[in-house]
Amino acid sequence: MDTVSIFKALGLNVTEAKSSEYLHLTVSPPQGGPTLDVVKPERDSKFYVLGMAISVHQFHQQQLRSLKEEDRRRFLSKLRYALLKMGVDMAFTPPNEEVPQVIFVSRVVYEEESTPNDLLHAMYKVRNAGTIAIFMFADRFGTPQLGSTFM
């Protein structure tokens, strides 16, 4: 099975994103929910990157900023430890700032000898890591009012 048909078989919407990479798909559940990016950087890349970008809601950024420095650090550390345990790559942007605007979690899948389950395994890791990040913000600071939310 090729990558696109694996995601389609799972009932997910797959669309091709315009980008400079060789292949860039966005994959999302039809009823809405977390969107995954699937990227093959170059034609001869031997791997895919499955990633999820979580934009931290303005409201949550404000809440974080209003915390005492120690509490803020503790919250962000807890989040980082949780993501490490999920076995994903993570990047907070801007880096080394106290209040992240975007949290990116990802996982690499090696194409050669890969099975649909390898892809599924990576998908679960990334999606659940991203969901943990979203939940940790929502549980700590409450859900922001409707409008622009986590992408």
Binding site: R73, Y81, L84, K85, G87, V108, Y110, E112, S114, H121
Partner: protein, 163 residues
Amino acid sequence: MRIDFPMEEKVREIFTNLKMSVSVPPQAREFFHITVTPPQGGPILDVIRPTNQTPFYILGMGIGIHQYHQDSLRRMDTASRKEFVDSIKYYLLEMGVDVAFLPPNQDIPQLIHVSKLVFMDGLTPNVLLDVYYTVRNAGTYVIMRFVDEFGATLGRVADTKYI
């Protein structure tokens, strides 16, 4: 050091294809021993097959605890120190790795080693990658815990223990 064996060549190639830098440590005496680092720098992992009879690879990461962090641990009271060190141990166990605090049975570790084995039989690139993620993240966790607790060591001493 022989690397002209198909499986070893494959392992090396997998990491190279992931754009990581792969090198052979000069002091290595095992049958197969490479170190793997992300291109932009970062955690160094060892991939070792001790002898040509060993049916598995060991992926490991040794985190030398910076002198400044050892001193900070020493300054803690016994109960807090134990709690801090134990919490790292438990979390590493949950992450599914082998853990060694060295020297053993000491309050203050000088080296924390995390590793995981993977059998060669049926080894696919993604299985190897899965083990890589597990070990790298476990090692990264150790480094972050120390930095979060005691602050970064950068610039404190001209000595980079965490590489």
